[in-house]
Symmetry: C4
Subunit: 202 residues, 4 copies
């Protein structure tokens, strides 16, 4: 069965939009009796840090999903399942985010950072699975007039994802702030479209 991708994109857009909007609910509202409000608000800085990182990450995942589906023009059962697998990762993000928000700067921040970076490691794998499935020649899911070089550049860029996030995961053992900094740097790397120049140099 081959259908158009419009409804797959609409459903995915909904999931991305909800996951990114739910993040704010994880930030606690300081009550009137719990001390000076401004101090209470400042004390919650780990919540803001994890909110901002997760917002950026989900936003950049959406941009990537959007980028892939400018090339993917047809859908089959396999694509539907791999897309669901990716969305599983997307909907899960608010949980490790909230765990990190509560534990960052506390005694157990390492375990929280491992959960956080581990989630992103799996999402990087899911992105590769989806794209490699869709881009396989025999499936003919891409547009007939697709730019083969653009496809190749995405495949190459994505291939780095699981490795880089695995390094990021390992870094959590050494230094939690360093692992989060690398996580942000990776988000920037995947936010940019794969440049021809960058790839040619390799």
């Amino acid at each position: 069965m081959t259908t158009e991708t419009a409804r797959v994109e609409a459903f995915s857009d909904g999931v991305f939009a909800i996951a990114i909007t739910l993040l704010i609910l994880e930030i606690k509202i300081p009550g009137p009796g719990s001390g000076i409000l401004s101090a209470q608000l400042l004390k919650q800085w780990p919540s803001y840090v994890s909110f901002l990182i997760s917002f950026s990450f989900i936003g950049i995942m959406w941009i990537n999903h959007h980028r892939l589906f400018t090339h993917i023009k047809r859908s089959d059962n396999g694509l539907l399942f791999l897309n669901l697998l990716l969305l599983l990762g997307v909907t899960a993000v608010p949980f490790p985010t909230a765990v990190l928000a509560v534990h960052l700067g506390q005694g157990d921040e390492r375990a929280a950072a491992l959960l956080y970076n581990g989630t992103y490691f799996f999402i990087a794998i899911f992105f590769n699975l989806l794209w490699r499935y869709a881009a396989a020649d025999k499936r003919k899911l891409l547009a007939a007039d697709v730019d083969r070089n653009a496809v190749h550049r995405i495949t190459r860029q994505y291939a780095f994802g699981p490795l880089f996030y695995l390094i990021c995961l390992g870094l959590s053992w050494v230094s939690v702030p360093a692992s989060l900094a690398v996580n942000v740097a990776l988000a920037c790397f995947f936010a940019l479209p794969p440049h021809a120049d960058l790839m040619r140099r390799r």
Copy 2:
């Protein structure tokens, strides 16, 4: 009144997307003072199990809804109501999921499993009602050039749903883990499109 199905699908996509994304909110965030974080996270395994089953179930319901509406091209009041009835089942899923997550492995897990499997039994009935209504010849809601064999195969596959989920519901009395395993197996069965071969053999 006969209108196109675009807005019915958009509204349904929204409900599916929200229900599947809300599931993660049911997983509790262990606080900093409540013990070793990794141990706290592991202790929550029933939450992860019920999250994964419910995510798969709603995802597969969406795939089925999508599959039905590749055939359904027109809409009337009856279809709108039966679609709402199905969405009632979809939006309800986070509640039995959360109840199961809290009680799985506890003294009251049977009641939680009955509620959980019972919800799916009703949803299976609602799917049959929607499809049988839409597929009835006299209503002309399907595409004019619809593949009659494909329609017939879906009707046959769906006919098993209520019976199988009733068995699953009965199994909850005997063994909760067994009933959940069958529940997962049923999700896989409905995830796959109805194959001609399988049906021909019957």
Copy 3:
């Protein structure tokens, strides 16, 4: 400025879909230590009653919104504002629903029912405002080939809304269950499209 209504409908669909899906979050999850689960679940019947009424109500509001926008083909600033006013009513529904769920069968159920029926009274007014604005001849927001009889029948059916919901609101003082029963009956009345026969008889 006159634009098409596609994005107004998409935004409204999103709001309806979220409001109808959030309702389930208001139902409390009984914890493991709080007694026999089945008894706990049964004791929560007011939550299920108010969930079902609110789900039906929002679902039927969506069907009505959908019905109006099969006629409305153009949009202007006034329509955007009146549509937002209606959506204000829609998004508010989970609050009176939760209040009713907590207080139904308790000493303060009258106040809860007044809040509940009062919300619907205002929504009925907002529906009239939106439709009368859109249907006014001078604005030319309806399709050029619109069925004038259909428009007239909707206008007539909606005219009863505020009056009927006001009666329903008054009934809350006399009997809360009766007011809820009338509320359900009204939902059924507005679920059905306005029939020519019914209207002609008047």
Copy 4:
């Protein structure tokens, strides 16, 4: 890379729709044992005030976003990022709203109002960034046949935003109610489309 804006608008619609619908969740449900219900409900007036202001604000932001995208016809990476930045502001709104709802009329209402008005100040800047980026001649993101005067009028109207919201922010130090009143007045100003007459007079 240049793609159409359909999916950007769909994703943004989702975020706006969810943020506006989540606001209601911040209003607390008074329990049965906490006093006379009607008195409890009235005591929560700051929640209703901040709900109404935030609902209006997000609704008007959506109308403005809609207005901008009737002119924007093409998309590039920069637009995707600036749109995400704007959505960051939109998804954040429920947090300062809830903080204001809890602290309005209390000792710490000034800090809450500063957070609230400060959020809107940043959103006003983000709106300017998005629009100025899209409207720049060299990028050709607007429709080829765009009304240059309409574009100019939007640019002029938006230029006042950051300044006015900064004044509003400063007013929070003097009088919290006055700052909220100005906030509402500003929402009305941006709700209206930029009129040619008004602008010509300047």
